[in-house]
Symmetry: C2
Subunit: 675 residues, 2 copies
């Protein structure tokens, strides 16, 4: 994908009125002020504006033009692209709105067709433009950022503008910014692919309100996070929550949870807000990779030290105390009143040298990452301490974040930290949060899912919207999922053989596509202990099924009861099959204690799902209870999660319950709905 004409154009033409306050003029202002040239203005009266010579047609411009910036009314955009194509233009920034987002799909189709004809790659329509800081190229309506290593992809122009504006406050530099608007050509996924290989970009951020083609996006994401961290704000959590799926399993798989699962599976970091995204991006832009999660807090004041410790809870960070040996080492250069637990509290008297040595010693010996806090006073300098922090962090080569506040030179100290690899945050808590995400990335990266698993697909032959119980059971059984195998008999004469094969006691159930709630009509008989009894109940079922499309009966060996789990899959609109598991009954229904992943999952992932459950201790021998065979259950979950890929017709599937034993796990009841 060559986007040079778009990102590093040689020659740009701006379409749109150049009257004061009009879009064309504003865009030329931004381009000229950004330092880009040559810029041309194309408008009916061939009006020039600032450095931009005016033409009434792009074809009259003698110079080479790589890219057009379009703010003309929507109905003219196709014509503009036609001309641009003839001129040899290969990139376009289409600011103009009034396309598919306003219901004018035909205008957008027409425009896209022409762009394709000429091989023009474009962003928009209905976008706020883009920025390439290195190329001094700023065709955007929004604020422009300082140069740096963060790429910003935003679906929303306003949010893009917010991010640009706030990036300056946060002292985070930007490599490129793209507001992709309707994303007809370049969308989130394609831009991700571009930035993956962009040498000027070290960290990628994305603001999205929805993700189209979730699986494709995930593949790219998984590929990208191998080399570059990706931080995503996905808004609309509330609205997403309303897209509740219809079935029981679906309703638990609230869509926002699906986004969480998709991002985590691909090693991406989800941010809560723009501030959070910029904090995390700042950390990634500046820090070396984390090799572990042991955090040291080095501080000169107790309160913020305690608040940092609080902030590390519920993150991947741990806060171990220094060993006796490390404490001895620290004592050699720290005064007696310094706190040697973690936080390492140098107290208000902490000197630059003590800071430097404490950081160096702690990180060299026992810690993986550090947060350094200096709360100074208005009459003291902070820069000497900042210099030592920077020196120590560089010497050790491990991630160090900082929170410096107050001091007669605080701005200088903060900037020094920000630009020398020990980034400074608005508070100790935010420093810790950002650091935790750097550590989390290194953990997630190590277990990014294989998005390229393929399965040989098979067809299900049925006229019904869902499988009959025995069909679903059979399908699972043959695929090797641990189910309590059943035998379907369509005639009383076959009952005996089935009983003998299964062994008593036996459960017998009526089979009819018209009878959904079998128990309610007396369609289930448990604890059958003889062939005669089984045959007698076959007759009874036949009577119950009269006139209701009676197909026969299904027989099971009656298995032991145990802890009941639910395992299911459903099909998410964006991401396709997702798998859930949880303890049955009120645990899933009332307490919502459910784990969810994008399907398929491996046994390792399935085990993580189980460990995530609040009820996990109950499976794992809590308070002297039994240890259940979680490996067998994980295997069952993993195998079950493959079914919608092997049988693409399947929309939903559920085992309720699955019994988990001290040895083994077995699904007892199965339900499958087709698309």
């Amino acid at each position: 994908m060559n986007l040079d004409a778009l990102f590093t154009p040689r020659g740009v033409a701006v379409y749109g009125s150049v009257k004061p306050g009009k879009m064309g003029a504003i865009l030329i202002d931004r381009l000229v002020e950004g330092g880009y040239s040559p810029v041309y203005a194309v408008n009916p009266k061939a009006e020039s504006y600032r450095d931009a010579q005016g033409y009434d047609s792009i074809l009259k411009i003698e110079d080479h033009i790589d890219c057009v910036i379009i703010a003309s009314p929507a109905k003219f955009v196709a014509g503009v692209l036609e001309d641009a194509g003839k001129k040899g233009v290969k990139g376009a920034v289409i600011i103009t709105s009034g396309f598919s987002e306003a219901g004018y799909h035909d205008l957008e189709d027409e425009m896209d067709a022409i762009a394709q004809k000429y091989g023009i790659r474009y962003i928009g329509p209905n976008c706020a433009g883009m920025v390439n800081t290195k190329w001094n190229f700023m065709p955007t309506l929004e604020s422009t950022p300082n140069p740096g290593k963060l790429a910003v992809i935003s679906q929303s122009g306003a949010v893009g503008g917010l991010i640009m504006g706030m990036s300056k406050e946060a002292n985070v530099g930007v490599s490129k910014f793209v507001s992709f608007g309707n994303g007809r050509d370049l969308n989130a996924a394609k831009l991700l692919r571009y930035f993956k290989d962009d040498p000027d970009t070290a960290v990628i951020s994305l603001y999205a309100e929805n993700i189209a083609e979730g699986r494709e996006f995930m593949k790219l994401l998984a590929e990208t996070t191998k080399t570059k961290p990706v931080i995503i704000i996905k808004s609309g959590r509330t609205a997403s929550g309303q897209r509740a799926a219809l079935s029981h399993t679906g309703s638990l798989a609230g869509a926002d949870t699906v986004y969480d699962a998709a991002f985590a599976a691909c090693g991406a970091i989800r941010a809560d807000s723009i501030e959070d995204m910029l904090d995390i991006s700042k950390a990634f832009c500046q820090l070396p990779e984390a090799k572990g999660n042991r955090m040291a807090i080095v501080t000169n004041s107790g309160g913020p030290g305690v608040m940092s410790a609080d902030a590390s809870e519920h993150t991947v960070l741990t806060l171990p105390e220094p060993s006796a040996a490390l404490k001895d080492k620290l004592r050699e250069f720290l005064p007696a009143f310094a706190g040697l637990a973690n936080p390492i509290d140098l107290t208000v008297e902490g000197t630059p040298e003590q800071y430097g040595k404490a950081i160096e010693t702690a990180l060299q010996d026992e810690y993986d990452v550090a947060v350094v806090i200096d709360i100074g006073t208005p009459y003291l300098e902070a820069t000497p301490i900042a210099q030592e922090v920077v020196r120590a962090a560089k010497a050790v080569g491990k991630p160090v974040v900082s929170n410096f506040k107050v001091g007669n030179d605080i701005d200088q100290a903060m900037n020094l930290l920000d630009t020398n690899g020990a980034p400074c945050f608005a508070s100790a808590e935010r420093a810790v949060r950002a650091l935790s995400k750097v550590v989390e990335y290194s953990q997630l990266k190590a277990k990014v899912v294989d998005m390229n698993r393929t399965f040989e697909t098979k067809e299900i032959k049925t006229d019904l919207p869902s499988l009959l119980e025995y069909e679903a059971n059979d399908l699972c059984y043959k695929y090797g999922v641990s189910v309590n195998h059943c035998i379907f008999v369509d005639d009383k004469s076959k009952v005996k053989a089935a009983c003998e094969e299964l062994g008593f006691p036996i459960v017998l159930k009526i089979v009819s596509p018209q009878i959904l709630h079998k128990s309610d009509v007396g369609g289930v008989k448990v604890n059958i202990k003889s062939v005669e009894e089984a045959e007698e109940y076959y007759d009874k079922m036949e009577k119950i099924g009269e006139g209701k499309d009676f197909r026969g009966c299904v027989l099971y060996h009656m298995i032991d009861q145990s802890i009941e789990m639910i395992v299911g899959f459903s099909t998410d609109k964006q991401f396709g099959p997702v798998v859930i598991c949880g303890m049955g009954g009120i645990y899933t229904e009332i307490l919502k204690d459910v784990s969810l992943r994008i399907a398929p999952v491996t046994e390792t992932q399935a085990m993580e799902m189980l460990k995530e459950l609040k009820t996990w201790p109950l499976l794992n021998g809590a308070r002297g209870g039994k240890h259940y065979d979680v490996e067998a259950l994980a295997k069952l979950v993993a195998k079950f999660s493959e079914l919608p890929f092997v049988y693409p017709q399947l929309k939903e599937g559920e085992f309720n319950p699955v019994f988990i034993y001290e040895k083994g796990a077995m699904a007892a009841d199965c339900r499958m709905i087709l698309k």
Copy 2:
């Protein structure tokens, strides 16, 4: 409590070296630069510094001195106060450290005795000073704030300094700031009392690492929040969590939960961080009281609108759609493409007039509070919109917060909003969070607990560290708690009468202080159906109890099983008795689904505790289940929570289980531990 000499002194003397860089000099710098006079310097060589005339004794100063600022070494402080007392000084700011915090309790006692002798009120020792902006009085080592209505009380000097520094960034003005350090005289509670009546203070904030004398503090807090919001940062959540209590009930009542409960019960708002505290304070300083929780979002851009909606989840705010009637009204002045759901999206073309009218109409007709978002562009003005927001908010008199970002005059617009009652926040999410706390305060305030309930106390006579089961049962029964009443018999001859009184079936248990686990030794017999059987088992118990201080047996009528709840109280170090309840078994033990309150609770509070449980739906007929008698359970919890007040010797008590029925609730097993 008259603290005029401290907060509004006429004449101040500073003790401490006035050599450059020394504390005395720094303090005089701050006082002089703050605009205060007259300042005197007291030091052995009678050195003057800047405007401060030097003396070697305060007694030689002819002018009146109300307050001394002390930075002399700890061993001299008592002497300083002695002199000051003779001079008629009634206030002191004791910066000096090296007292109780360093183990020198005697020095602190001596100093305090002298202060008391002369009626000197003081802050510190070991503090960073104080500020009264209105009096231009800034004897502090920390940053000084802008004037305003927020009082800041900080246990930590560094955190106090952070708050002062960050208050300027946040555009929050401060009335008074006190770093109370060791808090020997003026501590959090006393300062709260002072600020409650301080006419210059509208909002009170507190940073605390621990709260001494929790009940006294709660009383003051409950009193204060009637008229002024109090926002508290209580750090050390992690460390607090480690202070796990010994007993089962205690271990569930993790200390941080106790702080949460104490603050909420008194109508105080707990903040997560300094940024959060300043956001919330800013809202309180500017906004009128909230009359309800219906929030309108008025925005010119979709993304931040969605993020605001997301941020309102898990708060007390609701986000209803406008009614059809209101939509009609809005349509009269908004264009067709404006979004009329909630968010009310004026789109990028939103004019100042549309903002103003939309806010006014929405708040007049259907909404209680609003967040207004304007994400502009660098070439447009934001001030005209800000002016309309301010006008509309004033016209309606309801709380309006804002998030304005980007614009060629953005600083002016933000300042206008901040200083005219529609405060502007760093992000829409933070605006919503701050607004939600203003609404939460109005809700909490309406149900602040009565901290002045008193109970007639009674004595328990026993030599044992805990009550015997029947004693605990009796105590509850007589106090009117719904327990399954038992009869204790110390002789076989009394068994018959007991059986007749209770009715069969009967449970009989051995009574011996030496047998704690009765079932393990065969000391419990259930389902006894005749007097003969009961007598037979009395004999058996007597045998089992041989040589083990056998006291007799206790008999119960055997009650029906039902849903099992746990109800308990324990004694918190800071706050005294707390009460918990939850569903029994794994719900409390594994899933930690427990409600906690500071005891005693009313029935209304107890009902709130039940509704807070994740398992509440199970009590309340979830999925067609039974409706249990939650009123009866609430009554039991409330009554039980009074016991540690009636019997102050009680340290812990637990009912496990309490059966809750469709009609009634009854405790089946009771345990009480004495202090």
